[in-house]
Protein backbone atom coordinates (compact mmCIF):
# COMPACT_ATOMS: atom_id res chain seq x y z
CA UNK A 1 0.00 0.00 0.00
CA UNK A 2 1.51 3.31 -1.07
CA UNK A 3 1.03 6.40 1.11
CA UNK A 4 2.29 9.92 0.52
CA UNK A 5 3.76 11.18 3.78
CA UNK A 6 6.87 13.01 2.58
CA UNK A 7 7.86 14.40 -0.82
CA UNK A 8 10.50 11.66 -1.01
CA UNK A 9 7.77 9.02 -1.07
CA UNK A 10 7.39 9.84 -4.76
CA UNK A 11 10.21 9.26 -7.23
CA UNK A 12 11.16 11.92 -9.76
CA UNK A 13 9.59 9.74 -12.47
CA UNK A 14 6.34 9.35 -10.49
CA UNK A 15 6.18 13.10 -9.95
CA UNK A 16 6.75 13.70 -13.65
CA UNK A 17 3.88 11.34 -14.48
CA UNK A 18 1.63 13.05 -11.91
CA UNK A 19 2.44 16.44 -13.48
CA UNK A 20 1.57 15.05 -16.91
CA UNK A 21 -1.71 13.68 -15.55
CA UNK A 22 -2.36 17.11 -14.00
CA UNK A 23 -1.73 18.72 -17.39
CA UNK A 24 -4.23 16.35 -18.98
CA UNK A 25 -6.85 17.04 -16.29
CA UNK A 26 -6.46 20.77 -16.93
CA UNK A 27 -6.80 20.20 -20.68
CA UNK A 28 -9.72 17.73 -20.50
CA UNK A 29 -11.53 18.05 -17.14
CA UNK A 30 -14.68 16.38 -18.48
CA UNK A 31 -12.74 13.18 -19.16
CA UNK A 32 -12.12 12.78 -15.42
CA UNK A 33 -15.51 13.88 -14.08
CA UNK A 34 -16.53 10.31 -13.12
CA UNK A 35 -13.07 8.83 -12.41
CA UNK A 36 -13.64 8.48 -8.64
CA UNK A 37 -17.36 7.70 -8.76
CA UNK A 38 -18.60 5.91 -5.60
CA UNK A 39 -15.21 6.47 -3.91
CA UNK A 40 -14.89 8.41 -0.63
CA UNK A 41 -12.13 10.68 0.63
CA UNK A 42 -11.90 11.27 4.41
CA UNK A 43 -10.41 14.67 5.25
CA UNK A 44 -9.13 14.48 8.84
CA UNK A 45 -8.06 18.01 9.73
CA UNK A 46 -6.91 18.32 13.35
CA UNK A 47 -6.00 21.98 12.83
CA UNK A 48 -7.54 24.80 10.78
CA UNK A 49 -6.99 24.98 7.03
CA UNK A 50 -8.87 26.68 4.25
CA UNK A 51 -6.96 26.10 1.09
CA UNK A 52 -5.65 22.60 1.59
CA UNK A 53 -8.91 21.14 2.86
CA UNK A 54 -11.05 22.89 0.26
CA UNK A 55 -8.72 21.96 -2.57
CA UNK A 56 -8.76 18.29 -1.49
CA UNK A 57 -12.53 18.37 -1.30
CA UNK A 58 -12.89 20.20 -4.63
CA UNK A 59 -10.48 17.73 -6.22
CA UNK A 60 -12.47 14.72 -5.02
CA UNK A 61 -15.79 16.27 -6.04
CA UNK A 62 -14.44 17.13 -9.50
CA UNK A 63 -13.50 13.47 -9.90
CA UNK A 64 -17.09 12.48 -9.15
CA UNK A 65 -16.27 11.16 -5.66
CA UNK A 66 -17.55 11.96 -2.17
CA UNK A 67 -16.00 13.64 0.87
CA UNK A 68 -16.43 13.12 4.61
CA UNK A 69 -14.41 14.19 7.64
CA UNK A 70 -13.82 16.92 10.21
CA UNK A 71 -12.11 20.29 10.11
CA UNK A 72 -10.85 20.79 13.67
CA UNK A 73 -9.60 18.74 16.59
CA UNK A 74 -12.58 19.88 18.68
CA UNK A 75 -14.98 18.43 16.11
CA UNK A 76 -13.36 14.98 16.31
CA UNK A 77 -12.97 12.25 18.92
CA UNK A 78 -9.44 13.54 19.49
CA UNK A 79 -11.14 16.04 21.82
CA UNK A 80 -12.17 13.01 23.92
CA UNK A 81 -8.60 11.73 23.90
CA UNK A 82 -8.80 9.23 21.03
CA UNK A 83 -5.41 8.34 19.59
CA UNK A 84 -4.50 8.88 15.94
CA UNK A 85 -4.08 5.11 15.57
CA UNK A 86 -7.63 4.40 16.79
CA UNK A 87 -9.14 7.19 14.66
CA UNK A 88 -7.50 5.71 11.57
CA UNK A 89 -8.61 2.16 12.40
CA UNK A 90 -12.17 3.49 12.48
CA UNK A 91 -12.06 5.90 9.50
CA UNK A 92 -10.62 3.32 7.10
CA UNK A 93 -13.89 1.38 7.50
CA UNK A 94 -15.72 4.28 5.88
CA UNK A 95 -13.34 5.76 3.30
CA UNK A 96 -11.18 4.69 0.34
CA UNK A 97 -8.53 7.34 0.97
CA UNK A 98 -7.48 9.56 3.88
CA UNK A 99 -6.06 13.09 3.77
CA UNK A 100 -4.79 14.11 7.19
CA UNK A 101 -3.54 17.33 8.72
CA UNK A 102 -2.22 17.24 12.28
CA UNK A 103 -0.33 19.76 14.45
CA UNK A 104 2.10 17.08 15.68
CA UNK A 105 5.07 16.20 13.46
CA UNK A 106 5.04 12.61 12.24
CA UNK A 107 1.33 12.00 12.96
CA UNK A 108 0.69 10.82 9.36
CA UNK A 109 3.49 8.24 9.78
CA UNK A 110 1.49 6.77 12.66
CA UNK A 111 -1.68 6.93 10.54
CA UNK A 112 -0.03 5.12 7.62
CA UNK A 113 1.17 2.32 9.93
CA UNK A 114 -2.41 1.51 10.90
CA UNK A 115 -4.23 2.26 7.64
CA UNK A 116 -5.32 -0.28 5.06
CA UNK A 117 -6.24 2.57 2.70
CA UNK A 118 -3.80 5.17 1.31
CA UNK A 119 -2.94 8.10 3.59
CA UNK A 120 -1.94 11.50 2.28
CA UNK A 121 -0.12 13.88 4.62
CA UNK A 122 -1.93 17.22 4.30
CA UNK A 123 0.59 18.88 6.64
CA UNK A 124 2.10 17.72 9.94
CA UNK A 125 3.13 20.60 12.20
CA UNK A 126 6.22 22.38 10.92
CA UNK A 127 7.45 19.24 9.22
CA UNK A 128 6.15 18.10 5.81
CA UNK A 129 3.42 19.12 3.41
CA UNK A 130 3.87 16.96 0.29
CA UNK A 131 0.73 18.02 -1.59
CA UNK A 132 1.73 21.66 -1.23
CA UNK A 133 5.06 20.57 -2.69
CA UNK A 134 3.29 18.89 -5.60
CA UNK A 135 1.29 22.10 -6.05
CA UNK A 136 4.52 24.10 -6.09
CA UNK A 137 6.16 21.72 -8.56
CA UNK A 138 3.07 21.87 -10.76
CA UNK A 139 3.23 25.67 -10.70
CA UNK A 140 6.91 25.78 -11.65
CA UNK A 141 6.36 23.11 -14.33
CA UNK A 142 3.40 25.00 -15.83
CA UNK A 143 4.89 28.49 -15.58
CA UNK A 144 8.57 27.86 -16.36
CA UNK A 145 8.31 24.66 -18.41
CA UNK A 146 11.03 22.76 -16.52
CA UNK A 147 12.13 21.77 -13.03
CA UNK A 148 15.83 21.57 -13.86
CA UNK A 149 18.62 24.13 -13.60
CA UNK A 150 16.58 26.68 -11.63
CA UNK A 151 17.65 29.17 -8.98
CA UNK A 152 15.04 29.27 -6.24
CA UNK A 153 14.99 31.85 -3.48
CA UNK A 154 13.10 31.06 -0.27
CA UNK A 155 12.25 34.04 1.88
CA UNK A 156 10.75 34.47 5.36
CA UNK A 157 10.19 31.78 7.96
CA UNK A 158 12.48 28.98 6.84
CA UNK A 159 12.65 27.41 10.30
CA UNK A 160 9.03 26.43 10.87
CA UNK A 161 7.77 26.69 7.27
CA UNK A 162 6.93 23.11 6.34
CA UNK A 163 6.16 24.06 2.74
CA UNK A 164 9.72 25.30 2.39
CA UNK A 165 11.25 22.13 3.87
CA UNK A 166 9.20 19.92 1.58
CA UNK A 167 9.87 21.92 -1.59
CA UNK A 168 13.60 22.01 -0.86
CA UNK A 169 13.59 18.23 -0.39
CA UNK A 170 11.82 17.83 -3.73
CA UNK A 171 13.86 20.34 -5.74
CA UNK A 172 17.24 19.10 -4.56
CA UNK A 173 16.61 15.99 -6.67
CA UNK A 174 16.64 17.99 -9.92
CA UNK A 175 20.01 18.65 -11.55
CA UNK A 176 21.39 22.15 -11.40
CA UNK A 177 19.08 23.49 -8.70
CA UNK A 178 20.58 26.41 -6.79
CA UNK A 179 19.00 27.36 -3.46
CA UNK A 180 19.19 30.86 -2.00
CA UNK A 181 17.78 31.04 1.53
CA UNK A 182 16.80 34.50 2.79
CA UNK A 183 15.69 34.71 6.41
CA UNK A 184 16.36 36.39 9.74
CA UNK A 185 18.90 34.48 11.84
CA UNK A 186 16.17 33.30 14.23
CA UNK A 187 14.21 31.72 11.38
CA UNK A 188 17.02 29.98 9.46
CA UNK A 189 16.27 26.59 7.91
CA UNK A 190 16.91 23.70 10.33
CA UNK A 191 20.20 21.80 10.10
CA UNK A 192 18.60 18.67 8.67
CA UNK A 193 17.28 20.69 5.72
CA UNK A 194 20.69 22.27 5.07
CA UNK A 195 22.39 18.87 5.49
CA UNK A 196 20.00 17.43 2.90
CA UNK A 197 20.90 20.12 0.36
CA UNK A 198 24.63 19.61 0.91
CA UNK A 199 24.31 15.83 0.62
CA UNK A 200 22.48 16.22 -2.70
CA UNK A 201 25.33 18.22 -4.21
CA UNK A 202 23.12 21.22 -4.97
CA UNK A 203 24.39 24.74 -4.38
CA UNK A 204 23.02 26.47 -1.27
CA UNK A 205 23.61 30.07 -0.26
CA UNK A 206 22.20 32.05 2.66
CA UNK A 207 21.46 35.76 2.67
CA UNK A 208 19.79 38.35 4.90
CA UNK A 209 18.80 40.60 1.98
CA UNK A 210 16.04 39.93 -0.55
CA UNK A 211 17.17 42.81 -2.80
CA UNK A 212 20.72 41.49 -3.08
CA UNK A 213 19.65 38.11 -4.45
CA UNK A 214 16.64 39.21 -6.53
CA UNK A 215 18.48 39.45 -9.93
CA UNK A 216 19.63 35.81 -9.64
CA UNK A 217 16.23 34.22 -9.11
CA UNK A 218 13.99 32.17 -11.41
CA UNK A 219 11.54 31.63 -8.55
CA UNK A 220 10.98 33.65 -5.38
CA UNK A 221 9.11 31.58 -2.82
CA UNK A 222 7.70 33.78 -0.06
CA UNK A 223 6.41 32.42 3.25
CA UNK A 224 4.31 33.69 6.10
CA UNK A 225 5.76 34.05 9.58
CA UNK A 226 3.20 31.88 11.36
CA UNK A 227 1.95 32.91 14.80
CA UNK A 228 0.99 29.34 15.76
CA UNK A 229 4.56 28.07 15.37
CA UNK A 230 5.95 30.34 18.10
CA UNK A 231 6.05 29.49 21.77
CA UNK A 232 5.92 33.16 22.77
CA UNK A 233 4.11 36.18 21.35
CA UNK A 234 7.04 38.59 21.73
CA UNK A 235 9.20 36.59 19.31
CA UNK A 236 6.36 36.50 16.79
CA UNK A 237 5.75 40.27 16.87
CA UNK A 238 9.47 41.04 16.57
CA UNK A 239 10.01 38.86 13.50
CA UNK A 240 6.76 38.87 11.52
CA UNK A 241 7.51 41.92 9.38
CA UNK A 242 11.15 41.11 8.76
CA UNK A 243 10.93 40.33 5.09
CA UNK A 244 8.22 42.03 3.04
CA UNK A 245 8.02 41.93 -0.76
CA UNK A 246 6.85 45.09 -2.50
CA UNK A 247 6.83 46.35 -6.10
CA UNK A 248 10.13 48.34 -5.92
CA UNK A 249 12.03 45.19 -4.88
CA UNK A 250 10.71 43.42 -7.98
CA UNK A 251 12.28 46.02 -10.30
CA UNK A 252 15.54 44.07 -9.98
CA UNK A 253 13.97 40.73 -10.94
CA UNK A 254 14.55 38.85 -14.21
CA UNK A 255 11.69 39.21 -16.72
CA UNK A 256 10.44 35.61 -16.37
CA UNK A 257 10.87 35.29 -12.61
CA UNK A 258 7.79 34.06 -10.75
CA UNK A 259 6.71 34.90 -7.19
CA UNK A 260 5.09 32.02 -5.33
CA UNK A 261 3.50 31.80 -1.89
CA UNK A 262 1.69 28.85 -0.25
CA UNK A 263 -0.94 31.26 1.14
CA UNK A 264 -2.51 32.55 3.29
CA UNK A 265 -0.60 35.77 2.89
CA UNK A 266 -0.62 38.18 5.83
CA UNK A 267 1.56 41.18 5.02
CA UNK A 268 4.77 39.64 3.66
CA UNK A 269 3.65 40.43 0.09
CA UNK A 270 2.20 43.87 -0.56
CA UNK A 271 -1.25 43.68 -2.21
CA UNK A 272 0.18 45.94 -4.92
CA UNK A 273 2.26 42.97 -6.09
CA UNK A 274 -0.90 40.97 -6.87
CA UNK A 275 -1.28 42.51 -10.34
CA UNK A 276 2.44 42.44 -11.06
CA UNK A 277 3.45 40.16 -13.99
CA UNK A 278 5.77 38.22 -11.66
CA UNK A 279 2.97 37.21 -9.25
CA UNK A 280 1.78 33.59 -9.54
CA UNK A 281 0.47 32.77 -6.05
CA UNK A 282 -3.20 32.70 -6.95
CA UNK A 283 -2.53 30.53 -10.03
CA UNK A 284 -0.53 28.33 -7.67
CA UNK A 285 -3.65 27.78 -5.52
CA UNK A 286 -5.58 26.85 -8.66
CA UNK A 287 -2.97 24.30 -9.74
CA UNK A 288 -3.28 22.76 -6.26
CA UNK A 289 -6.68 21.32 -7.08
CA UNK A 290 -5.52 19.72 -10.33
CA UNK A 291 -2.41 18.07 -8.91
CA UNK A 292 -4.46 16.75 -5.95
CA UNK A 293 -6.90 15.28 -8.47
CA UNK A 294 -3.94 13.56 -10.13
CA UNK A 295 -2.63 12.27 -6.80
CA UNK A 296 -6.03 11.00 -5.62
CA UNK A 297 -6.47 9.14 -8.91
CA UNK A 298 -2.97 7.68 -8.75
CA UNK A 299 -3.47 6.43 -5.17
CA UNK A 300 -6.91 4.97 -5.88
CA UNK A 301 -5.62 3.21 -9.00
CA UNK A 302 -2.32 2.07 -7.47
CA UNK A 303 -1.10 -1.39 -8.40
CA UNK A 304 -3.29 -1.62 -11.50
CA UNK A 305 -1.75 -2.08 -14.93
CA UNK A 306 -0.35 1.20 -16.28
CA UNK A 307 -0.89 2.97 -12.94
CA UNK A 308 1.44 5.77 -11.84
CA UNK A 309 2.00 4.27 -8.36
Amino acid sequence: MRHVISPQDLSVTEIERLLMLGDDIIARPEAYAESARHRKLATLFYEPSTRTRLSFEAAMLDLGGHVLGFSSQEASSAAKGESVADTIRMVQCYADLIAMRHPKEGAPVVAARHAKVPVINAGDGGHNHPTQTLTDLMTIHRELGSLEGLTIGFCGDLKFGRTVHSLIAAMRRYPGTRFILVSPTELRAPDYVLDGIRASGCVCEESRSMEAVMPDLDVLYMTRVQRERFFNEADYVRLKDSFILDVPKLLHARPGMIVMHPLPRVNEISVKVDDNPHARYFEQARYGKYIRMALILALLEQGKEGAIL
Binding site: S83, K104, E105, G106, A107
Partner: protein
Amino acid sequence: MNIDSIHNGIVLDHIQAGRGIQIYQALHLDELDCVVALIKNVKSAKMGRKDLIKVDEMIGLDLAALGFIDPNITINLIIDGQVAQKKPLNLPRELVNVMKCKNPRCITTIEQEVEQIFRLTQEDPPLYRCAYCETAFRN
Protein backbone atom coordinates in the same frame (compact mmCIF):
# COMPACT_ATOMS: atom_id res chain seq x y z
CA MET B 1 42.08 -7.53 42.22
CA ASN B 2 40.85 -11.01 41.49
CA ILE B 3 37.73 -11.65 39.42
CA ASP B 4 36.82 -15.30 38.80
CA SER B 5 36.74 -16.57 35.22
CA ILE B 6 33.33 -17.48 33.98
CA HIS B 7 32.39 -20.92 32.68
CA ASN B 8 29.35 -20.21 30.53
CA GLY B 9 28.43 -16.63 29.89
CA ILE B 10 29.30 -13.37 28.16
CA VAL B 11 32.18 -10.95 28.39
CA LEU B 12 31.73 -7.47 26.97
CA ASP B 13 35.23 -6.28 26.14
CA HIS B 14 36.73 -3.06 24.80
CA ILE B 15 34.12 -0.82 26.42
CA GLN B 16 35.30 2.77 26.36
CA ALA B 17 36.53 3.60 29.88
CA GLY B 18 33.72 5.16 31.88
CA ARG B 19 30.90 3.83 29.69
CA GLY B 20 30.58 0.52 31.52
CA ILE B 21 27.91 1.75 33.91
CA GLN B 22 25.83 3.11 31.01
CA ILE B 23 25.94 -0.30 29.31
CA TYR B 24 25.16 -2.02 32.63
CA GLN B 25 22.04 0.13 33.00
CA ALA B 26 20.97 -0.05 29.33
CA LEU B 27 21.10 -3.86 29.37
CA HIS B 28 19.27 -3.97 32.74
CA LEU B 29 22.01 -6.16 34.19
CA ASP B 30 20.95 -5.11 37.69
CA GLU B 31 17.86 -7.27 37.20
CA LEU B 32 19.89 -10.50 36.76
CA ASP B 33 20.27 -13.02 39.59
CA CYS B 34 23.57 -14.46 38.29
CA VAL B 35 27.07 -13.13 38.96
CA VAL B 36 27.76 -9.90 37.06
CA ALA B 37 31.07 -8.03 37.27
CA LEU B 38 31.57 -4.48 36.05
CA ILE B 39 35.27 -3.74 36.00
CA LYS B 40 36.39 -0.17 35.39
CA ASN B 41 39.63 1.26 34.06
CA VAL B 42 41.31 -2.02 33.13
CA LYS B 43 44.73 -1.54 31.49
CA SER B 44 44.55 -2.16 27.76
CA ALA B 45 47.34 -2.22 25.17
CA LYS B 46 44.86 -1.17 22.49
CA MET B 47 42.83 1.44 24.36
CA GLY B 48 44.99 2.53 27.29
CA ARG B 49 42.07 2.05 29.67
CA LYS B 50 38.86 0.18 29.13
CA ASP B 51 35.82 -1.12 30.99
CA LEU B 52 34.79 -4.75 31.02
CA ILE B 53 31.57 -6.54 31.94
CA LYS B 54 31.36 -10.26 32.76
CA VAL B 55 28.00 -12.01 32.99
CA ASP B 56 28.06 -15.57 34.37
CA GLU B 57 25.10 -16.75 32.30
CA MET B 58 24.06 -16.85 28.62
CA ILE B 59 21.58 -14.00 28.28
CA GLY B 60 19.91 -12.33 25.31
CA LEU B 61 21.49 -8.97 24.53
CA ASP B 62 19.95 -5.94 22.85
CA LEU B 63 22.69 -5.63 20.23
CA ALA B 64 21.07 -2.54 18.70
CA ALA B 65 21.20 -0.66 22.00
CA LEU B 66 24.73 -1.84 22.58
CA GLY B 67 25.90 -0.83 19.11
CA PHE B 68 24.35 2.59 19.57
CA ILE B 69 26.06 3.25 22.90
CA ASP B 70 29.47 1.97 21.80
CA PRO B 71 29.94 0.21 18.42
CA ASN B 72 33.54 -0.69 19.29
CA ILE B 73 32.59 -3.20 21.99
CA THR B 74 33.50 -6.85 21.42
CA ILE B 75 31.13 -9.52 22.68
CA ASN B 76 32.79 -12.79 23.72
CA LEU B 77 30.55 -15.80 24.20
CA ILE B 78 32.16 -18.16 26.74
CA ILE B 79 31.24 -21.84 26.61
CA ASP B 80 32.92 -24.39 28.91
CA GLY B 81 35.45 -21.77 29.96
CA GLN B 82 36.58 -21.06 26.37
CA VAL B 83 35.86 -18.15 24.05
CA ALA B 84 33.48 -19.86 21.62
CA GLN B 85 32.55 -16.83 19.55
CA LYS B 86 33.57 -13.19 19.21
CA LYS B 87 30.90 -10.84 17.94
CA PRO B 88 31.85 -7.38 16.71
CA LEU B 89 29.12 -4.73 16.81
CA ASN B 90 27.93 -2.44 14.06
CA LEU B 91 25.97 0.78 14.22
CA PRO B 92 22.35 -0.40 14.10
CA ARG B 93 20.28 0.92 11.21
CA GLU B 94 17.25 1.29 13.45
CA LEU B 95 16.74 1.69 17.19
CA VAL B 96 13.40 0.83 18.74
CA ASN B 97 12.51 2.08 22.22
CA VAL B 98 16.15 2.78 23.12
CA MET B 99 15.77 6.56 23.49
CA LYS B 100 12.95 9.10 23.31
CA CYS B 101 12.42 11.94 20.84
CA LYS B 102 13.00 15.28 22.53
CA ASN B 103 11.05 17.37 20.00
CA PRO B 104 7.98 18.69 21.89
CA ARG B 105 6.09 18.87 18.57
CA CYS B 106 6.65 15.19 17.74
CA ILE B 107 3.63 12.85 17.67
CA THR B 108 5.49 10.47 20.01
CA THR B 109 4.97 12.97 22.85
CA ILE B 110 1.20 12.39 22.85
CA GLU B 111 0.50 9.06 21.15
CA GLN B 112 0.77 6.42 23.87
CA GLU B 113 1.05 3.23 21.79
CA VAL B 114 3.69 4.55 19.39
CA GLU B 115 7.15 2.96 19.55
CA GLN B 116 10.12 5.31 19.73
CA ILE B 117 12.00 4.62 16.49
CA PHE B 118 15.24 6.25 15.37
CA ARG B 119 17.03 5.59 12.08
CA LEU B 120 20.70 5.98 11.22
CA THR B 121 20.86 8.76 8.61
CA GLN B 122 24.60 9.40 8.67
CA GLU B 123 27.43 7.01 9.54
CA ASP B 124 30.35 9.28 10.29
CA PRO B 125 29.83 10.86 12.71
CA PRO B 126 26.82 8.68 13.58
CA LEU B 127 23.53 10.56 13.42
CA TYR B 128 20.14 9.14 14.31
CA ARG B 129 16.86 10.84 13.43
CA CYS B 130 13.37 10.23 14.75
CA ALA B 131 11.39 8.11 12.27
CA TYR B 132 8.37 10.38 12.76
CA CYS B 133 9.57 14.00 12.91
CA GLU B 134 13.18 13.55 11.66
CA THR B 135 14.60 15.44 14.64
CA ALA B 136 18.25 14.48 15.26
CA PHE B 137 18.98 12.69 18.52
CA ARG B 138 21.61 14.37 20.64
CA ASN B 139 22.86 12.95 23.92
